[in-house]
Symmetry: C2
Subunit: 724 residues, 2 copies
């Protein structure tokens, strides 16, 4: 590939991106697309409907870019939660580090590479891209110190930036915890594996245990019921009501069916929490389900939510081993109500370790055998075989244009389609794994997708692109640096096009929301449904975090080998920053939040990228016979690993536990404010299992502290200053 | 090596062992050796001096064997602590599993091997040992199912035994915790990295913190002081007093010097805790040190012992993250007073992670480069070189007998001498690592020695004995099973002689206590010192546990390959059981106890041995072209690993934490008995730093609940029945 081709490709991609972004800026102004592009805002606030006939609607405008740019971190925090802020921090970190890398590498490393006198030079435009890589530097060249120096600067800059990011994010997390209003999840723990004593219900056993050992802090509890027939009938009834009330277009006031027997009370009836009395008549038929309350009693799971009087007591109960048999009375902090994955709570605790091992193995197998079906199907796209399999296509396929199209695009389309199945598959694995919260499941899926991407995007490409196509590549551990060192520079041009196509294109697709847009069009113009139900999407961290991190990996590994990739990457990150900001502000709802748990993942992935870069550099310096540069790289690897260990010691625990100091202070603050009684009252109805299917409508009936201070984001998130 | 040679070697070793054991049974009756062979009993009880002139003294008798055999587990627990019981359980477990293995392998596998028709048979006595190994079975033989079946039986038996042992030991640990009398360590935590606030002493900062956050449970604290000049002077003063009072031969009543300023009080004076007023005059000179109390104030470390009102409160405070900066206010449960390693407490907490990494790396490097100097020195023993280096020896070395002796024995002697340096080196590493307790340091050293032994005894021998002498052996991961499978059967005869010589000989040496005996002889008959100071040895778990586990590893890996090793191993374990019982009863003192923390190490090592055996079997079945047997072995590996994971889930947490239930019950029990006030009083003087150098003498002045119920071991350790 020569420079000309690269620039052409870049030009085409820039053109496509600009066109799509302009298209977006028109589409977003169409009232019919409101629920595609403003899903979050429809769900949380009433959006002003635009004037239907206005010239402005058909002119692309950059106003949304300005808006996205100007949005402050506090606003993002309020709108998208801590996770959204952390995600944007990844982008900001990437922009910073790759700006530094770009400056160093373009002004120091690139000239050294270009004047390296290993390959013959041509005219600049038709110069091969290989000339710009480290492959052009002569063996034993004295100029390799430039690469080594650049590696040092990049590594140190990355570590310093990582340190300050980790520090600031753990501080932010702390502030987030301190500043958040009292939530039921702060006072609740999830108890699993309650032992079965004959003659007693789980509820009685639990009451006895906690009144005995936690007499001073135990408040109440709520059993989890098996989600079986009862819940199914409940959700059917729910749907019926929904249909019956479909004529009332005001979403916020929909009724909600709650069996009060399982919400702290003891009456075996359902109550309709509705503000409109008009619905009541339609619903009276559903009173027939009342008897089911009794049935649900028999279906108690050995799991329950236990509420405590203080946050600190709940936290202690969640931390400590309760019984001398570690498989009984297993406690953990309860997730927030919206974050709960009810279906997984009733999984017997004893199964969990088996499920974890099974899904881990399944994910590893999936990772390694993924390419086999893909290559097989891609092999099928050989036209001869296709023509043989489907003889009636023979005439059609013999046309040259069709031939080119099919052989040129079909393999990559098939690969793309297969790749799209990866995040849902990993999500499925994470569901089977048994996580009890949506956010935990998403984080687990994120890790799986990350490993998958690093393996299949980076290593498989690097190794299959090089001479060694077999898995044998890894048979000899000591040769890895040399193999990678030979492979990475030759693959640099592929990675550049990967950034151009997959990176930039994915951003445009993300912005356009192609799939929801398509659904919307089908619904509105083909099915003719007029109702504007918002899409209610949550931010897909499990696909986007790995994507960004893999681009980071490409950036680091290519930086000193083939610095030409850096400008393209930088454009990607800047664009991503703007686009994701916009999407967080307008499209995605934040129903649940992990509280910044993605940052340790990002930190580790970045350290991995750095160390991999250094190891590859070691290999390159070895190949180029520069013992001095190799010698200087080894301490760099050690220093980076030590830095990582230090960060693990210094920051990681705050992402796993909350400090006693903080919790006690929060409890005291609430007590001084006299809010405790208020909180206790809310706890009773906090974790209401059977309203699950209609949780969006139930919000009005249950706690709604999330909406309380909606006007003032900063009042809800006061940045508390802490000495850390 | 043929059968004849093996039997001769076994005969010689049996003869030597019997001779040494008989010698021991005479030596132990000599009054002059009392302090060598009855060190523990001298230290803890008054031993009846034997009649000096009695014929019986010079006749070997097996009475000690009977005594050792009859000792119950409760007695061992009382005398040697939980760790001694766990150690003997390793031996009992080994006897059980290798009895099963011996029966299966000698009656099922050995005939199959012998009649395998691969090698030519000779007369039984001069039959090569190789004939008895799996090497004699033909390729593709249908009889390999016998090996596979034996492997299954051994693996399942081992897992079942391991499960019940783990269960019973965790129950015993629980009983030990519940049954132990109230100890200061139950109520104390060790706080490190107390932040430095200008204008305040560490003590004030700590008081503020704990009275603020642990107001209801905080009792008092005691700072740790830098061990510098003060302590040195203190110990000098101590020695002086010891010298001055040397004329008073009654050990138990020696005086003890305690600066009361650091023992909870505030008076800057030293008190002499002595029951004999006669000593006082001699000591009055030491009052000059009184001013040093003030100096010690300025030398506070950022570390302290904090005492709580209940065990549960102390445990919670040790478990929880205290501050939002995880590098400050680091808490852990305090070790018992005798277990404390004072020198390591003042290490700044921030250094610990670095020290851990450094010692880990040092240990790994030591493990790999250990053989290099050994081979070099062994190379020097080539007589020509020696003669060249030291020309005056030339005549001496040219004699044939000397020549044989030097070339035959010197290399192995050098190897042995180098091997003796391993445990002290590992102990040194563990000290540098920064463990705050003797037991923790010993366990850490035990792990290091274990890895070292597994590597240097098993792998280095197996791999250097086979064709592949280079480290390249491990370049290809997939070939490992095949390489091991080829190497292990050929090395079986070496391992047999290793068991005979190193195993049996080490037991005889252990029994004879050669080094202390030698010291004693030198002291009594050359230096003419008459005083009988006991040796005060603690059981060397860090050398003995790895030794036994490595023999277990040899047993498992050789069992189906070369079953002839099993009888010798069985004899070793039975002998070891008797001898170590005797040593625990008579020789070693138990100053500190880890509470059975060695069992998880043993469990993991055994699982490792099992899986390694299965992998080697997989390789063997591969070489012998038996796909069925290979196919059946793979699920066995998976099942073993799953079993291990289950045990980790089920039992491991009880070795890391103590269940809340247990602690709360213990606290309640004490409260009901009205012992709390008593305990609180004792806490004040519990961790007295500067009495360290004379802790043995201080015992009388401090708590002595260990001696309280000395008559009735079962009263001290009531076996509490728990539902686990």
């Amino acid at each position: 590939m020569d420079l000309n081709a690269l620039l052409t490709s870049a030009g085409i991609n820039i053109g496509v991106s600009v066109a799509l972004i302009s298209l977006y800026s028109i589409l977003r102004k169409q009232p019919s697309n409101l629920n595609v592009y403003f899903g979050r805002r429809i769900a949380s606030e009433r959006v002003r409907r635009l004037d239907p006939l206005c010239f402005d609607r058909f002119v692309p405008s950059p106003s949304w870019i300005v808006k996205a740019w100007e949005t402050s971190e506090e606003e993002i925090m309020f709108v998208g939660g801590m996770d959204a802020v952390v995600f944007l921090r990844i982008l900001v970190f990437s922009i910073r580090i790759f700006s530094i890398a770009a400056i160093i590498c373009l002004f120091l490393v690139l000239p050294v590479n270009y004047y390296g006198q290993e390959m013959p030079h041509k005219q600049i435009p038709s110069e091969s891209l290989e000339v710009f890589t480290i492959g052009n530097v002569k063996e034993g060249s004295k100029w390799l110190w430039a690469h080594c120096l650049a590696l040092y600067i990049i590594s140190f800059a990355a570590c310093i930036l990582l340190y300050f990011e980790y520090k600031s994010i753990s501080k932010m997390r702390l502030g987030h915890i301190i500043g958040s209003p009292p939530k039921p999840s702060h006072f609740a723990i999830l108890v699993r594996a309650i032992p079965w004593l004959s003659g007693e219900s789980y509820s009685d056993t639990l009451t006895k245990f906690f009144t005995n050992y936690y007499a001073s802090s135990y408040l109440s509890h709520q059993m989890v019921y098996r989600s079986g027939t009862v819940q199914k009938l409940m959700s059917d009834a729910e749907k019926m009501i929904k249909m019956l009330t479909a004529d009332y277009p005001d979403h916020a006031h929909k009724p909600c069916l709650i069996p009060s027997g399982c919400c702290g009370g003891s009456v075996n009836e359902f109550k309709i929490l509705s503000r409109e009395e008009t619905v009541k008549e339609n619903v009276k038929e559903t009173a027939g389900f009342a008897d089911l309350g009794v049935a649900s009693r028999d279906k108690e799971c050995p799991a329950a939510f236990v509420f405590f009087k203080t946050r600190y007591a709940a936290f202690l109960a969640a931390q400590v081993l309760q019984s001398s048999n570690p498989m009984l009375w297993v406690t953990e902090l309860a997730p927030e109500k919206n974050d709960l994955l009810w279906s997984n709570i009733s999984i017997p605790y004893k199964q969990l370790w088996l499920r974890k091992i099974a899904t881990l193995l399944a994910a590893i197998v999936f990772m390694f055998v993924f390419l086999i079906p893909v290559t097989l199907v891609q092999g099928l796209t050989q036209l001869e075989q296709l023509a043989q399999a489907l003889p009636f296509l023979r005439g059609f396929l013999s046309k040259k244009f069709i031939n080119q199209l099919v052989t040129g695009y079909l393999p990559s389309v098939i690969l793309m389609l297969f790749l799209y199945t990866v995040p849902p598959t990993m999500m499925l694995f994470s569901t089977v794994e048994g996580s009890v919260s949506h956010s935990g499941r998403k984080k687990s899926a994120c890790l799986k997708v990350l490993y998958f991407n690093i393996w299949n995007v980076f290593f498989v490409n690097v190794l299959s692109g090089s001479i060694l196509k077999q898995l044998n590549a890894f048979s000899s551990v000591r040769d890895i640096p040399a193999i990678l060192a030979r492979a990475v520079p030759t693959q640099a041009s592929f990675f550049m096009t990967y950034v151009l196509t997959s990176g930039w294109a994915s951003l445009s697709c993300e912005l356009m929301q192609i799939f929801p847009l398509f659904c919307n069009v089908v619904k509105k113009f083909i099915l003719r449904i007029k109702e504007d139900s918002p899409c209610n999407l949550t931010f897909p961290y499990h696909t986007e975090v790995p994507r960004v991190l893999v681009f980071g990996l490409l950036g680091f590994t290519c930086s000193i080998m083939a610095p030409l990739i850096l400008p393209f990457l930088l454009i990607y990150f800047i664009l991503a920053n703007l686009i994701y900001r916009n999407q967080i502000l307008h499209v995605y709802e934040s129903k649940y939040d992990s509280g910044g748990q993605y940052w340790p993942v990002v930190h580790n992935a970045t350290i991995f990228s750095l160390v991999l870069t250094q190891i590859i550099a070691l290999g390159v310096f070895g190949i180029k016979r520069s013992p001095v540069a190799s010698g200087f790289t080894i301490p760099l690897v050690i220093l980076t690993l030590l830095f990582n260990e230090y960060c693990r010691q210094r920051f990681k625990p705050t992402f796993k536990q909350i400090a006693a100091q903080i919790l006690i202070e929060m409890d005291r603050h609430d007590e001084i404010c006299g809010r405790m009684e208020d909180i206790y009252r809310q706890l009773h109805s906090a974790y209401c299992q059977f309203a699950l299917t209609s949780q969006d409508f139930c919000k009005a009936g249950n706690m709604n502290e999330g909406d309380r201070n909606i006007q003032d984001p900063e009042a809800i998130n006061p940045r508390v200053k802490l000495e850390t």
